[in-house]
């Protein structure tokens, strides 16, 4: 498949771009909810609108009422979310949780997917237990208890956990903390007893939870997939999430870069447009190159993932790492080239820097993924 959008995808891109610029823009969404100190960090009305656009169920199979689209398509929406810094449950609900639910029973799918597709429900995913992403280590325990399980432990950095109607939780049903096997995924409803959330606002105004499970009783039908068979599903969730985060990151990078290049064409210093200064030109051109490459590796990885290629695993880490580097450069150059006003809350460039930072950390930063590239390459 060629590495550009086909006609349908191009049409979707046009639609998504128009919709997000109109409805999901920084003024209407990010600043709006942030300045109101919104406990969700996003707007439910927009989520509903996204459902009407058909976005929320893109990755859900047609048999389950979704559109049965792939990661290229989801990436198109995520790119626009990134560019507009649109706060929404799309990545966690429609990509991560939706990927987990693909492996769920008819019952689970029937219970949760319609709400997602309608834009009524929000889902979160709880994996990490410390401040750095380390999915190889799952200590939260789910012990057999009657017909079901009892969940004990804690999770951190659960994006939108407090807003979620259901949280996908990776827990250990056998083995020790760092074992590959023995993981089971559970769909935990929001009102589960003995689950407490400590919601904290993050630098990008999103809200994440520290969750404590203090003997949370779950029915057996809360299990997604097989008991002890959760690692593969978790890996699929992680890969989908990383590729999705990378797609959003390219949007963030492009948005920051475009805003900066525009500024270079407007701002005068020493009697010249600052875009005339060759040192800035070269840095802008280098940045452009890095962002283009990030864009390329993301679409390549999306296609591999949609094709079920084995190399999608390696390339998802390449993509996440490359995007982290490119987007990190874009926001740093962006703020520096904006000069003093880049430091003010009034200008949007700083918001890109904040979002980039949170996105970098989500599901593994450039270091984590470069290390994973080495490991998967056998060194």
């Amino acid at each position: 498949m060629p590495l550009y959008h086909d006609d349908d995808q191009a049409m979707l891109a046009d639609t998504a771009s128009g919709f997000m610029a109109e409805e999901g823009n920084i003024q209407k969404q990010l600043r709006h909810w942030r300045d109101r100190d919104c406990p969700d960090g996003f707007g439910h009305a927009l989520w509903k609108q996204m459902a009407e656009m058909g976005f929320t169920g893109m990755l859900v199979a047609e048999d389950d009422g979704g559109l049965g689209m792939g990661h290229v398509e989801a990436g198109i929406v995520l790119g626009e979310i990134g560019r507009n810094l649109t706060p929404s449950p799309f990545l966690t609900s429609s990509v991560l949780a939706a990927t987990a639910l693909k492996h769920g029973s008819d019952d689970l799918r029937g219970r949760y997917l319609p709400g997602l597709i309608e834009g009524e429900s929000v889902f979160a995913v709880a994996i990490d237990e410390t401040a750095k992403h380390r999915p190889g280590r799952i200590a939260t325990k789910a012990e057999k208890s009657g017909n079901g399980f009892k969940l004990t432990g804690s999770k951190s950095f659960v994006i939108q956990g407090a807003s979620a109607d259901m949280i996908v939780v990776a827990a250990r049903t056998s083995g020790s903390d760092e074992d590959e096997d023995g993981i089971t995924l559970f769909a935990v409803p929001k009102d589960a007893a003995n689950m407490t959330q400590d919601a904290v606002r993050l630098v990008d105004s999103s809200v994440a939870s520290h969750i404590k499970f203090d003997g949370v009783e779950l029915d057996g039908d809360a299990v997604i997939g097989e008991v002890n068979g959760g690692r593969d599903i978790l890996n699929a969730v992680l890969t989908a999430g990383r590729v999705g985060a990378a797609a959003e990151g390219v949007g963030v990078a492009s948005g920051a870069m475009d805003m900066t290049v525009d500024y270079l064409k407007q701002r005068k210093q020493f009697g010249r447009l600052i875009g005339e200064f060759q040192a800035l030109q070269h840095r802008a051109s280098h940045l452009y190159s890095e962002v283009e490459i990030a864009r390329a590796v993301v679409i390549k990885t999306q296609q591999l993932l949609d094709a079920g290629a084995e190399s999608a695993e390696l390339m998802s880490s390449v993509a996440k790492a490359k995007v982290a580097k490119a987007a990190g450069l874009a926001v740093k150059e962006g703020v520096q080239m904006h000069g003093g006003i880049g430091m003010t809350d009034e200008y949007d460039i700083g918001l890109y820097m904040k979002r980039d930072r949170a996105l970098q950390e989500f599901l593994g930063d450039a270091y984590f993924h470069a290390n994973r590239v080495a490991e998967l390459s056998g060194y």
Partner: protein
């Protein structure tokens, strides 16, 4: 015992007697800094006691002459005092743009009466000063400033707008670059001093991406600035229309201060601390991040040596006069990189913006704050231009 050794002994004794235990803790935030000024309040008795002890001893500005409120220490003694204060982690008794910026300008360009009048107030923490340099249209290109003072004989009428005036909303007086001759770009600027309570002065805080508002926009609407505050006390530093000389001198001084004195935190390695900190919270930094920290530590420790060398050389006039630009460039870029790495090492916990465990988002707010390092006081781009021209002697473009 040499004079210096006995001075050290005395100093140690004096500090022991006068520096309260509470004042021997690192500064954690703005609360811990005493800025002085008309409306100043002390955050604790200890802060007050420590400030007053220093003020009375001349130790708010130890190297200034006694006549101007200082202690008249020579450079060797001043170094001993610094060492002894740093040994017990003593906090600065008074922080002030008057000390850092206006003071040096007055010491260099001021009249005797001006020095006695203004320096004394600064040393005693009576007047808090802010700096009126940048304007919305003139960032790096400072000399293009537009704020205009119309000559009305014994006074000027000043109109215009400044930006990035630090804490202007809390300050008493401003030292301010004002155009007084529109026909001469460089020799048409006057370095004026006036009270922020003068009619027509107003300020508006600027909210930064860090969420803090240490800077203001400052507006002058027909502000009447007299040309003199009494016999031998002109309301400007240096000569009328020659304020650019003062500004240039101060910019050099500022870069020197940022580059040299910065010290401590700015030159320190972070790898070990970050690794320990992560371990404490159950994390383990991956090998690639460890490598980045190691590469950073190499640069930080090497820059530390450069800082020492720079200070040693500047003392004896061996440093290239434009070297502060290099120090400022490298030091600020390094500091930005340091905080990027600290954020990475801190992981999702460092992203928290308001939580208690981060004392209200310190890691991320500090990180965002560092992004201004390479903009304020001359951008990195301007520093590189200066190095090209003045040190490498490359041809003008």
């Amino acid at each position: 015992m040499s004079d210096l050794e006995s001075f050290r002994a005395e100093t140690r004794e004096w500090l022991e007697a006068n520096c309260p235990q509470e004042m021997r803790e690192p500064v954690r935030d703005e609360e811990d800094v005493y800025w002085g000024g008309r409306n100043a309040t002390f955050k604790s008795d200890a802060q007050k006691a420590w400030f007053e002890a220093c003020r009375d001893k001349g130790y708010t500005v130890p190297a200034w002459p006694k006549d101007y409120g200082g202690a008249g220490l020579d450079p060797a003694q001043a170094k001993v005092l610094r060492q002894e204060m740093s040994r017990i982690n003593a906090r600065p008794p008074l922080s002030s743009f008057g000390i850092w910026m206006l003071g040096p300008a007055l010491l260099h360009f001021g009249t005797e009466e001006q020095k006695k009048h203004f320096l004394g107030q600064i040393a005693r923490g009576e007047i808090r000063w802010c700096q009126g340099y940048s304007e919305p249209g003139s960032g790096s290109d400072l000399v293009s400033l537009q704020t205009f003072g119309e000559d009305k004989g014994d006074h000027w009428v000043v109109n215009g707008q400044k930006v990035w005036t630090s804490y202007a909303d809390e300050c008493d007086w401003i030292f301010c670059l004002v155009r007084t001759d529109k026909t001469n770009k460089y020799q048409g600027i006057t370095f004026m001093l006036f009270d922020m309570e003068t009619e027509g002065c107003s300020t508006k805080p600027i909210k930064l991406i860090s969420g803090n508002s240490p800077f203001c926009e400052t507006f002058f609407d027909d502000v009447k600035v007299p040309k003199s505050y009494g016999e031998g006390i002109p309301a400007y530093v240096g000569e009328i229309n020659r304020g650019w000389d003062v500004a240039k001198y101060l910019l050099g001084h500022e870069r020197e201060m940022i580059s040299g004195a910065g010290g401590g935190d700015r030159t320190s390695a972070i790898g070990a601390a970050m690794t320990r900190h992560a371990a404490k919270t159950g994390d383990e930094l991956d090998p690639v991040m460890r490598a980045e920290l190691a590469m950073f530590d190499v640069d930080a420790l090497a820059y530390g040596a450069m800082g020492e060398k720079f200070l040693d050389e500047i003392k004896v006039g061996k440093a290239h006069p434009a070297q502060p630009n290099m120090m400022k460039y490298v030091g600020t870029e390094l500091n930005k990189r340091r905080h990027e790495l600290m954020m990475s090492a801190g992981g999702s916990r460092a992203l928290e913006w308001e939580s208690e465990q981060t004392s209200g988002g310190k890691p991320s707010r500090n990180w965002l704050r560092t992004k201004a390092n390479s903009i304020e006081g001359g951008t990195s781009e301007v520093m590189l231009n200066v190095i090209s021209k003045r040190i490498l002697d490359l041809p003008g473009s």
